[in-house]
């Protein structure tokens, strides 16, 4: 691992117990039966522990959408042509994609990063161009990335998070775009959780049962060709890919090191979280699982990480759409803690239950 990655991991600290106790104490004094706001109360306490202050503040919000291409598309594991990655990046930049609409409702900025799209994307003032390579290699034939590329991808995520945190960021969401990236994510999930490939591989953006069998066979081939070592998460990342997954690993490490809560989106973000938390188990405390994706591997990896999703809306779009909704819930949770009246302030009698 490079110095930047090691240093970043070294800066990840436990949650601030004092701030959490303060938040819990205030929750108990707010004008409602204790615990009656359920997950929103728990979330407010986690946010206090992450930010190290109670009440936590959620005002500056951003979703980091990272895009990259995957060489494994050569194996025809999906129905969408590779050029869709670049086309969707253009769609993000014009504001026409799902994440743009959801983020507008949430009041979150969308930061679009080219981590390794296969084709050249024209210049755009809103594009963060940090291409590590022009798409990964085909993992079914050998390593998807070199060790250097994997490190570079993670470092890029760390650097971008440092820039955003420097400008002031109260919460980050993760998002992804990359044709073929459910295949890479299923592979990472199988390796890191030790579960059978068939159990963590799903229909992606829409496959037949026949195509699903082929996708599983390709993943099994990739694992037997590369023989990645689960105990070496950077090696797993390098051998399987992709650039956007590595970038998201860096975002999570960088955010945790800077005490910024990270709302992770669906399956691809979850695969990145597996790598990030294997590099540094302390990262998990800084993660908020937004939703449960339709992809079967997502439930497996969330259980492995010990994260419980906030939403279950049968979504499977990616892009950070689930994360944006989760950011909204985090903002409400923080707002409740900060702005509700206490029993004393409101002159409301307390129950003795």
């Amino acid at each position: 691992m490079t110095e930047l990655i090691t240093d970043t991991i070294g800066k990840i600290r436990p949650l601030d117990r004092m701030a959490m106790e303060k938040a819990q104490d205030r929750q108990n004094r707010l004008t409602k039966p204790p615990g009656s706001l359920g997950r929103l109360e728990e979330l407010s306490i986690q946010l206090a522990g992450i930010q190290g202050k109670s009440p936590p503040q959620i005002k500056k919000k951003a979703v980091m959408v990272m895009a990259g291409d995957h060489g494994v598309v050569a194996e025809k594991i999906g129905n969408w042509p590779q050029e869709v990655t670049a086309q969707m990046v253009a769609n993000f930049l014009r504001g026409g994609a799902g994440i743009n609409v959801v983020a507008r409702h949430v009041g979150a900025r969308v930061i679009v990063v080219d981590m390794g799209v296969a084709t050249e994307i024209g210049r755009d003032a809103n594009l963060v161009s940090r291409k590590v390579g022009s798409g990964t290699q085909n993992m079914a034939c050998g390593p998807a990335m070199t060790a250097e590329q994997a490190a570079k991808a993670v470092e890029t995520g760390i650097e971008l998070m440092a820039e955003e945190a420097g400008r002031g960021l109260d919460i980050a969401g993760t998002g992804d775009m990359g044709i073929g990236n459910t295949t890479a994510s299923s592979t990472i999930c199988a390796i890191m959780t030790g579960r059978p490939v068939a159990e963590v591989t799903g229909l992606g953006t829409g496959l037949t049962d026949e195509q699903l069998k082929h996708k599983i066979a390709v993943i099994e081939r990739a694992i037997s060709v590369n023989r990645p070592e689960p105990g070496n998460p950077m090696e797993v990342l390098a051998k399987i890919g992709g650039f956007e997954i590595g970038g998201l690993v860096g975002v999570m490490l960088g955010a945790a090191a800077r005490r910024v809560p990270v709302v992770i989106d669906g399956f691809i973000s979850g695969a990145a979280a597996l790598i990030a938390s294997a590099l540094s188990p302390g990262v998990k405390d800084y993660l908020i699982a937004a939703h449960l994706s339709v992809e079967p591997g997502h439930r497996v990896l969330l259980e492995h990480l010990g994260l419980e999703p906030l939403l279950s809306l049968n979504m499977r779009l990616g892009e950070g759409t689930g994360a944006a909704l989760g950011i909204f819930l985090a903002e409400v949770a923080a707002g409740v803690l900060a702005d509700m009246a206490t029993f004393g302030e409101a002159g409301v009698s307390e129950g003795d239950g």
Copy 2:
């Protein structure tokens, strides 16, 4: 039933299939794999069918919070004194309660209605004072309300919804406040679904197991004393109460008659939905279940109604807090349908999956 109630029920029409087909067709052309936004897509189509236009518009939002007291508190079925109902209404009016904070984040107005609080609430420009009575009678000893009071409560809800719809309202949420109203709601739930009282009775705002047994016994006594007929929902409402539940029945009927979607909150709103949909099964199509409450009867009644909740956050506060979050999701769903680019507009290739 009174003429206003009968007329309102007569105005409830099926959803607009043309608008729903138009919405479905547009969903399929938006730049995402078809169906990948899951419940948000379904919700946008339901909203189109309710409003009779595609895309539906969700801009003017309000949560109708109805308050009333319950005579059954004389049986000591909870730990909170009755005066808390009035104190919390004052808290709503000052903006310090959970619903105020959540509604501010959602951009929804909070309409606070005194449907039958036991004590006099001082004048307040923001209070809608429509007291049907000063708390209901104790249902464990006889009918909670007269038939006239029950009709008056439902009519009040219809009238208030007519006023709001007249001013322009794109979506309504329901909320409640009333010490003792989980007891009334469990009773209504047991009667209308035919399930055992013990199965639909929970800890309310916080009971011990011993207190729960007592609550169940009180409910069983109320049923044996009143012998309400499940086939006569207005009789059930009158015998069990309460004023705020009757008001919410009226809000649901009135909204459905005016093609306004209604996001129903938790268990108390669910009990009102049981009565409303028994009066007119067509109401169900106009309802959106916001969340799954911790109260065990809530799951039972949602299944009975055929409604699937959007959120499951272990909430049990009431007040419309869940409904407000559901309104936000409805707004996002409508926004996605209206504002996302189509494949054609964005120049994105379509998958052949």
